[in-house]
């Protein structure tokens, strides 16, 4: 069946694009979980919808518009949570619902785009084109380079940002860099899993990794492994059962998390203390 799947161009594109997105999201999810940014991730991913709608209405490339808009919203969330007197979850709630509402309002003005709304919200991995692959690859290289260059610095701010600041690290640059990387990754992932489900890939792989290990190196390994495994199993199942591929990938990732939560040696609920 796998050979049959790979005989189609669109399946090869789906596999390659999906793999790049899953690796990228898994890598980033490591810091999202460590630095507890998952709700900011929800805010950024949902606000991408507003950017897409602006692009559609103005006739610009919707993904580039979504990228710029998401980065601005990510910074907005960061600034209001750091400088404002409101709690971070409140500001995120305001930003993402406002951006989502803007998206819905603008899309309703556009006559011809409504048919694609479902694929924006839930992804359409089988429609990935060569140009999409290039976009994902460029975004992926940029984000991976940032994470690679500042890996230990990001570890330090994830553990204790005040001490990192006293240690001389540019904490604000690293924090906003991480938010920007999240925004770029969200936009690169829209075709694969869609706006609604991308958040799952920014949290679940690292949550699985966290559950599997007490050491960050293994946590990173299990994040990447569970992300890639979710993609392969999700794509095969969606092809076999003829169900939405983005949702199947996320369901596979969730299943891996549940298995890790229950059976992980040392940390699993059912095997705790035996590892």
């Amino acid at each position: 069946m796998i050979a049959e799947m790979l005989s189609f161009d669109f399946m090869r594109n789906a596999l390659m694009g999906g793999l790049m997105v899953c690796v990228l999201c898994s890598l980033l999810s490591f810091f999202v979980v460590l630095k507890r940014l998952s709700f900011i991730g929800v805010g950024i991913s949902h606000s991408a919808f507003g950017g897409l709608a602006i692009g559609v209405l103005l006739g610009f490339n919707p993904f580039i518009c979504a990228g710029i808009f998401s980065v601005l919203v990510a910074w907005g969330i960061g600034i209001t949570s750091q400088k404002g007197k409101l709690h971070e979850d409140t500001t995120i709630g305001i930003f993402f619902s406002a951006a989502m509402a803007l998206g819905v309002a603008l899309i309703s003005l556009s006559r011809e785009y409504k048919a694609d709304l479902f694929s924006l919200l839930f992804g359409n991995i089988l429609a990935i084109t060569q140009a999409d692959l290039w976009m994902v690859a460029i975004c992926g290289v940029g984000v991976a380079l940032f994470l690679f260059l500042f890996f230990k610095e990001l570890l330090a701010i994830s553990f204790d940002d005040e001490v990192a600041r006293v240690g001389g690290l540019p904490v604000d640059f690293l924090y906003y860099g991480l938010l920007t990387a999240m925004a770029i990754t969200v936009v690169a992932s829209i075709k694969v899993v869609g706006i609604i489900l991308v958040e799952a890939l920014l949290v679940i792989p690292a949550a699985t990794g966290f559950q599997m290990s007490k050491n960050y190196r293994w946590m990173l390994f299990f994040s990447l492994a569970s992300g890639a495994l979710s993609l392969f199993s999700g794509l095969i199942l969606s092809y076999w059962l003829d169900i939405a591929s983005g949702a199947t990938i996320v369901l596979c990732a969730s299943l891996l998390f549940v298995l890790a939560f229950l059976f992980s040696p040392g940390k699993g609920v059912l095997l705790r203390g035996r590892g």
């Binding site: 230990k152 570890l155 553990f159 204790d160 005040e162 600041r165 006293v166 240690g167 690290l169 050491n215």
Partner: protein, 256 residues
């Protein structure tokens, strides 16, 4: 740098709008001294430490560390190790004790470069200094509160070229034997490494056994001197708004 104070505050004010947190604070700490800042809750003790380590810019006045701006001392020379009050990391963090100590070194390495063999040796030496080398590979969450504080001291010692160690309430939530152990380690570090140490503490009686000098704050500076002078100064009673006997345990109290 001989003769230059390790810490020098001149007419430092910190205000939040109308609210004055620190009012016209001036003091000098010579290198190699162990200094404790005491004062009641809300006296501005933590704010004064945050001013010293550059986390809180003063509204007015100047701060110099080893004769330089704190940002220079911190970013360029990496002289300052900081142990914040109740570090807010989760006990489930996936870091070993050695990983945590190495994280203290990150600011002085620069991007791209990973920890060298020498960095690891220094981190192990710092763990040995706080008597926790045998715990190097344990997950940080498996240690007790007192042991974690010692790990955080080892992390502060890994800042690059440690000359000043700043600790905010390092003994909160730590039992008495571990408090004694922790202060003895600090005195040993002061003696062996020539460190200047500044500690905020709420336990006046305990800290007076270890500090060379004490500074009593309650928004303004009430007294600065050796523990004997400070503890027998009426300024302390004034700062705490309570009598000396109630602060240090009255002879003839319930245990008499």
């Amino acid at each position: 740098m001989t003769g230059t104070p390790a810490i020098e505050l001149q007419n430092v004010w910190v205000t939040y709008g109308e609210h004055v947190v620190l009012e016209d604070i001036s003091f000098e700490v010579p290198p190699g001294r162990f200094v404790a800042i005491i004062g009641p809750n809300g006296a501005g003790k933590t704010t004064s430490l945050r001013v010293i380590v550059g986390l809180q810019p003063p509204t007015a006045g100047s701060v110099r560390l080893f004769g330089m701006e704190p940002s220079v001392t911190i970013r360029k020379h990496h002289f300052v190790g900081y142990v914040p009050q109740r570090s807010d990391f989760e006990r489930t963090s996936p870091f070993s004790v050695l990983d945590v100590v190495l994280l203290g070194k990150v600011g002085s390495i620069g991007p791209y470069r990973w920890f060298s063999r020498k960095d690891r040796e220094v981190a192990r030496l710092n763990l040995q200094r706080v008597e926790l080398l045998e715990y190097a590979d344990r997950p940080i969450g498996e240690l007790s509160g007192g042991q974690i504080q010692r790990v955080l001291i080892a992390r502060a010692l890994s800042c690059g070229d440690p000359r000043l160690l700043v600790l905010d309430e390092p003994t909160v939530g730590v039992d008495i034997p571990h408090q004694l152990g922790l202060y003895e380690i600090l005195v040993k570090l002061q003696r062996e490494m020539g460190l200047t140490i500044m500690v905020v503490s709420h336990d006046i009686a305990m800290i007076s056994n270890y500090a060379d000098d004490m500074i009593c704050l309650n928004r303004t500076m009430h007294v600065h001197g050796n523990p004997c002078e400070v503890m027998h100064s009426h300024s302390v009673e004034e700062a705490y708004r309570c009598e000396f006997d109630r602060l240090f345990g009255a002879p003839g109290g319930k245990c008499a």
